[in-house]
């Protein structure tokens, strides 16, 4: 009842458009969120906890549409009531009229966003891809694409750093990996670049294939596979097949796979070129040292040695760093330039990003959203020395049928890491992690937070000098 009554809140359209914005205007995601709110009896006013509505043009139009619907409803409702009738008829009119508002708003947004999505996919997105294809048909530089369930942005930025040390390189900015982002990127080019690096998104089935078909890459890197976005793809296999469609567009010796990804390895042939923690492109990794200040190691090939000093944290960074450097060397970048370039790459916001708080070291990995990343973060915590280790997580979203298995695996790694204190944000995954920790005999302290935002905002009260705190993943407002 609270949910339906909240449609009469003056800001109801703003809350609804915020929900749409958070699920990237996907009808399925919006519907799922509406279901959660109705099932848990939460009002619309409860949705905007972590962020605010970003006032993009699209958002403003949709909010305007919502108020338009409300205005129309007010007019029609008034006219209907003024038509008069017996008390019983009036009662029925009032009841139906009141119900009409929430139904109208929800249906309007479903229809508009759904149709717009279809139109976008079939027209706008197609046009953007066509634009990219036409531009690149006559382009003289080399095109590199980066695909994968995780680590794409990191790999793109590493390749940009190492190749830029000697060549003219441009890359899509931030984590822009949609046709619109690619088209905007192309429009920004000067046309004399040696290399272009594109990050490919996998928002819906067939995305990677469509991108590959438009961009016709010279090189491709697949950074790993994880059970993400399984609310879009039916299965891991469907996701893998989309990634592997790159084989049709890129020569075998120009296609590189992350060998550390256990799921991806199942789809990779022995003849495929892989990179991992042991090395890349005939370069071997030696003398690894991990700390809160970064990851250091040496690349060796025959008599050649290159010392890597990266500000990125964790052993899982070794493979992409090694590949980025080895690939740059393959492309003719002088050795020392490629190695020094790594020092210019710093952790990205909320991705294994170190900072200090009240004398404690925080590693903020709250934008991590995949199993491999979670496991990598836990292994990093295991590697580091601290007076007290604290691990904070709500678990992972969007795991679909894999939810049980994934969270049991997370719990296994937590038990192996043995932090002194585990803080679990209360949600649908908590029980899975808790029961697995109990089964494994984990002896550390486990506490539960029902208000994640309040906990993060007051984290300084919980930590002290000598602590290392790993915060992984943060459930956005649309997950419970």
């Amino acid at each position: 009842m609270k949910f339906w009554l909240s449609f009469f809140h003056p800001r109801a359209p703003i809350f609804l458009v915020y929900m749409l914005q958070q699920v990237e205007y996907r009808v399925a995601g919006f519907q799922k969120w509406v279901d959660v709110l109705t099932n848990t009896n939460h009002p619309l006013t409860s949705v905007m906890k972590r962020q605010k509505l970003v006032p993009t043009t699209k958002a403003k139009l949709l909010v305007g549409l919502g108020y338009g619907v409300i205005t129309l409803w007010v007019l029609l409702f008034t006219v209907w009531l003024l038509a008069g009738g017996t008390p019983m008829i009036l009662f029925v009119r009032v009841a139906l009229g009141l119900l009409a508002l929430p139904v109208s708003l929800i249906l309007t947004y479903f229809l508009v966003v759904g149709l717009a999505g279809l139109v976008y996919t079939n027209t706008v997105e197609r046009k953007r891809l066509e634009y990219c294809r036409e531009y690149l048909q006559t382009y003289s530089g080399k095109v590199i694409v980066v695909a994968g369930s995780y680590g794409k942005t990191s790999m793109k930025e590493l390749l940009l750093a190492t190749l830029s040390a000697h060549c003219n390189v441009a890359a899509t900015s931030g984590n822009g990996n949609t046709p619109s982002a690619h088209a905007a990127f192309i429009r920004s080019l000067e046309g004399n670049e040696d290399y272009l690096i594109f990050e490919l998104g996998e928002g819906k089935p067939g995305d990677v294939r469509r991108f590959a078909e438009a961009l016709r890459p010279d090189y491709a890197v697949v950074t790993g596979l994880a059970p993400n976005h399984l609310d879009q793809y039916d299965s891991i296999d469907a996701l893998a097949q989309d990634m592997l469609s790159l084989r049709q567009y890129v020569p075998a010796n120009a296609l590189f796979f992350a060998g550390d990804s256990t799921i991806l390895r199942a789809y990779v042939a022995s003849s495929d070129s892989c990179y991992d923690e042991q090395g890349a492109l005939s370069w071997q990794v030696q003398q690894v040292a991990v700390s809160t200040e970064g990851t250091h190691f040496r690349l060796v090939k025959g008599r050649e040695k290159l010392d890597m000093k990266s500000h990125l944290l964790g052993r899982h960074q070794i493979a992409p760093i090694a590949f980025a450097v080895a690939f740059a060397l393959y492309c003719g970048v002088p050795h020392q330039k490629a190695a020094r370039a790594i020092e210019t790459v710093f952790p990205y916001a909320h991705r294994m990003q170190p900072s200090t708080l009240s004398g404690a070291i925080l590693i903020d990995d709250t934008y991590n959203g995949n199993l491999e990343g979670m496991l990598a973060g836990l292994r990093l915590l295991q590697d580091l020395k601290a007076e007290r280790k604290i691990y904070i997580t709500p678990g992972l979203v969007d795991q679909g049928a894999e939810t049980q298995r994934v969270h049991r695996q997370i719990a296994e790694q937590i038990a192996a890491t043995r932090p002194d204190w585990v803080v679990l944000m209360q949600n649908s995954a908590t029980d899975i992690i808790t029961s697995e920790l109990q089964a494994l005999g984990y002896g550390g302290k486990v506490t539960y937070q029902s208000d994640a935002l309040r906990f993060y905002q007051n984290l300084s009260q919980f930590v002290r000098a000598g602590d290392i705190v790993m915060m992984q993943n943060d459930w956005t407002d649309n997950y419970h």
């Binding site: 009240s358 004398g359 007076e387 007051n458 919980f462 930590v463 002290r464 000098a465 000598g466």
Partner: protein
């Protein structure tokens, strides 16, 4: 769930500082432990007592409508029989809330000076921090030096006088100071903290003026000899029978540039910008831990603990010391029985998180109360039969 009442505000020049101590370093972490029901009990400058959930938020006190908002909160009563009970009245009925543990956060007069502790001891409720006796002694700079002197804890040379004596014959006071002390001297109200009414003086005229200033604030004045090659340090300590020190901290000042109230609280520390890029502590910038030779550091810790024991402190307190860095001599300066913001920043650096600090202090309060409760204080006698 235990009910912990946090008392703050009060009829004191440090009223506003008390609000910050209570809200940021006590109420918030107590709530975050999830172990207590926390009641904010605010005492306004006129001495009216209030208890309302709204008083847990700084926005209430910073609002331009503060007076109006406060007038909408009903003052409470207090019952002291068999414990401490807060009496809250509404239009419909009166509610009584029994307090399991009291957490004083009232700096200065009518709070930290033992007034509140006396009330709480009368009520027989466990309370956090120094007890009545230690609070009274610690808040009187003269008494504190007299007590520590008997335990052979060194202080810089000092004399004291009353406001009445100063009013009657300032010259006698000045002569006594000149006879026993060297310039520069520091003139301080004996009972105030937060550097209020303090003057540094280098000649008779300045001393005369400083005495007049100090007597505006207090009826007892202490005059202390300054320390050459000065290094000021402070040490938060926590515990009852087995006190534990935090880290020795050095506020970044020079002998010429001591903290007055504005510098300490309003400008974020040292005048003219930060020094050394060190920690911004509760009272501005400081070196944490103090960067002094290890032997001197360890001795300062020992002196601090000796002072804590000598004054009978319990719960928590902060000991300020002065070091002559050339002679390696450590002098006891003063004790703060209720450190501002509990000096939580120092405890964090020493390995005690905010939530752990308040939880530990509550536990210490209950332990002390438990021990005292076992003491026999009441016994029957036939004394009255004689009359």
């Amino acid at each position: 769930m235990k009910t912990v009442a946090v008392f703050f505000g009060g009829r004191s020049t440090e009223h506003d500082i008390s609000i910050i101590t209570a809200l940021t370093s006590i109420i918030k972490p107590l709530e975050l432990t999830g172990l207590y029901r926390v009641l904010p009990v605010y005492i306004d400058r006129s001495g009216n007592w209030y208890c309302d959930e709204r008083l847990s938020h700084i926005s209430f006190f910073r609002s331009k409508q503060f007076e109006k908002n406060l007038s909408q909160v009903k003052p409470i009563g207090v019952k002291l029989s068999n414990g401490l009970t807060l009496l809250m009245t509404s239009r419909i009925k009166q509610r009584e809330i029994r307090v399991d543990v009291a957490f004083p956060a009232m700096h200065g007069t009518y709070g930290e000076d033992g007034s509140l502790m006396g009330l709480l001891e009368m009520a027989g409720v466990p309370y956090v921090g120094c007890n009545l006796a230690a609070s009274v002694i610690a808040m009187d700079k003269v008494l504190a030096k007299q007590v520590t002197q008997t335990d052979n804890i060194p202080s810089t040379p000092w004399v004291w006088c009353t406001a009445a004596e100063t009013a009657l014959n300032t010259d006698t006071v000045i002569a006594r100071a000149e006879e026993q002390l060297a310039w520069p001297m520091f003139v301080k109200p004996a009972h105030l903290g937060s550097s209020i009414g303090i003057s540094r003086v280098t000649n008779r005229l300045e001393l005369r003026n400083a005495l007049e200033v100090a007597t505006h604030y207090d009826d007892k004045i202490i005059i202390e000899q300054g320390v050459a090659n000065l290094v000021e340090v402070t040490l938060p300590i926590m515990g009852n029978e087995a006190p534990r020190p935090a880290l020795l901290e050095r506020p970044l000042t020079t002998a010429k540039d001591f903290f007055d109230f504005d510098t300490k609280y309003l400008q974020g520390g040292k005048k003219g910008g930060k020094a050394g890029g060190k920690t911004a502590g509760a009272q501005g910038y400081s070196e944490l831990p103090a960067d002094i030779p290890k032997t001197l550091y360890d001795r300062a810790i020992e002196v601090g603990l000796e002072v804590y024991r000598s004054l009978g402190c319990s719960g928590t307190a902060r000991v300020d010391m002065l070091i002559d860095s050339k002679k390696d001599e450590i002098y006891f300066n003063e004790v703060n029985p209720l450190p501002g913001s509990l000096y939580a920043h120092n405890w964090r650096a020493a390995g005690v998180a905010g939530v752990e600090l308040v939880e530990k202090l509550v536990t210490l309060a209950e332990e002390r109360h438990g021990i005292l409760a076992k003491r026999t204080r009441i016994f029957s006698s036939s004394f009255l039969q004689q009359f």
